[in-house]
């Protein structure tokens, strides 16, 4: 464990769906610290709460109890607008199904977080162009997501997650929908970028191989998070 200050922390996080007898306790006191440059894998069976953990840590869902801290600050004690800004500045997401916007080109998709932050379109497109080069799909920038392969889409999604140079990238089964060859490319890329950019990566995955390549493995089993 690093001596550096964690860029993202979860403290005794509980998360429940529903009420009364139908209450589903998804997270039961999960705690986690993510450090710059640290690669952490979370494994667990389907329905164990991996996505929910990432959503809570990514400020997309409010924990039922416990706290999420970004740079030591609790985002849930501020306004929704400021929380959105924190998400934009500090967090990047990679989803299993890429979630690129179909109506925008790959280049525009990658530039989107920068445009959301208030940067001009041309400035955002410049940043996105560099990232497309970095993930090796520069030539596909003017294509729409439906016109490129699954592996290329996921590389574009990775580039998009890195656009604002966030402290933390949360990847929810990023290779879960890819064939073996594309999985290898995306995994290598992700690990290389994490190391070269000194960003914290938290990767939810079913892939033991990917988990072993990460520096740290956590197991989420029936809502309880423990070291693997």
């Amino acid at each position: 464990m690093s001596d550096a200050r964690p860029v993202l922390s979860g403290r005794d996080i509980h998360f429940t769906y529903g009420r009364g007898a139908d209450t589903l306790h998804v997270l039961k006191g999960a705690s986690i610290d993510l450090f710059p440059g640290g690669l952490t894998a979370v494994m667990g069976p389907s329905g164990s709460g991996k996505s929910t953990l990432l959503h809570v840590l990514g400020l997309l869902a409010r924990p039922s109890s416990g706290a999420v801290l970004i740079d030591g600050r609790d985002p849930w004690k501020t306004s929704e607008a400021k929380r959105s800004r924190m998400r934009n500045q500090n967090l990047g997401f990679v989803f299993q199904f890429h979630h690129l916007l179909e109506e925008f080109t790959v280049h525009e998709n990658v530039a989107m977080p920068c445009m959301i932050s208030g940067k001009s379109r041309s400035q955002s497109m410049d940043i996105a162009g560099g990232l497309l080069r970095e993930v090796g799909i520069e030539s596909r920038g003017n294509h729409f997501p439906s016109e490129i392969s699954g592996g290329e889409r996921q590389r574009a999604a990775l580039a998009r997650a890195l656009a604002m140079e966030p402290a933390v990238v949360l990847a929810d089964e990023p290779t879960g929908n890819l064939d073996d060859e594309a999985t290898g490319v995306v995994e290598n890329l992700m690990l290389d970028l994490a190391r070269s950019r000194n960003q914290a990566f938290l990767i939810a995955t079913h892939s033991r191989e990917l988990a072993q390549r990460c520096g740290r493995l956590l197991i989420l089993d029936r809502g309880v998070l423990r070291e693997g």
Partner: protein, 400 residues
Amino acid sequence: MNLWLVGALSVRQVVSRSHSGFVRFVGVLSVVGIAIGVAALIILRSFMDGFTGAIRHSLEAVNPAVHVYAPGGGALGPSDYGLVRELALGIPGTTGVEAVLERPAVASGAVGTVAGVMVRGMSGSGDGAVLGIRLAQSLGVTMGDTVRLASTAGVSVSGMGRVLVDTIMPMVVVRVTDFGIDEYNRSLVTTSIESARSLFGDETGISSMGVGLTAETDPVNASITLDSLLRESYVEGGWPAYMTAIPFMSFHTNLFQALGLESLAMTIVLGLITVVALLNLSSALTMIALEHRWDMGVLRAMGATPRMVFVTSITRGLSIGAVGVVIGALAAWASVLVVNNYFPIRLDGSVYWVESLAGKFSAETALVASAITLLVCLLVSVAPAVSALSDSPSEALRYE
């Protein structure tokens, strides 16, 4: 907020090829509904304005813009004419002042037909009679023929039951004209004021005075100015006020108020129908929002604020509305143009005063109708936008 992004998100999501057939159908239906509503509103106003304008134009073509008369029916004389002329010519936009003597008479033509007419003698007119086309037809006369005019003031019935007339005056028809208004075409005879005075046996008689104005001069303002000048001159001269100046249109206040009321009522009814069509927009926006629920979740994950999501949703509604409004306004413009040029509307002049109806497309009307429609689009878009906001990003991302 990056406006390019908001605009691109709104427009591209509206025209997205990924929409299901039904959502596309509802979207197209919204655009068509808005277009028809806007077109109907503009076409209605164009033809109502055209009708009102045609009547106004026809009336103004025959009558001076401002009338000066003695409300109590008092006789006016040459000195009154002199005073009015002096004052009126000092008002910018005045083109001239005419003394008018207008009285009822009886006219008979070549074939012995007789018609009740209104003889209007004007100081600016030449000798001879100018007849409305329908009157000329009913009297069986044409240019160069002679009509006989008799003043009804001197008519009496003898003991034998014969109708005796003091003055019968033959007058050459110098022109047969279309006065533009059926009532005038059937009964008006214009001539010089001297001829009218001879006919009515009144050597100096003036029943009113007409002040002509340039087309750019507002008759209402000019009449107010002239009226106040007349009053001032009475005060200075120590006379009681007895002449008043009014715009000619005041003689037809009821008509124009009725036309205005009818136009307003029809606009309100059509406007309400358009609002009903706009409610369909709300359904379309809700469906589009549902189909892009994922996208909104992704945008929120990337840091889009609720405000940006809200503005994007509203802009979506406005972009659909804008397309409908532009199509509707263009369709209205084209319809008015086609009807005016290829399918002119004929009216029964005896019922509607004018014999043809031309639409008068006004950019101002189109802008107002478009602006109001877009405002309603904006209001209708609020509910789907608020609904989009109520989704947590996590729920939106899990939505399939």
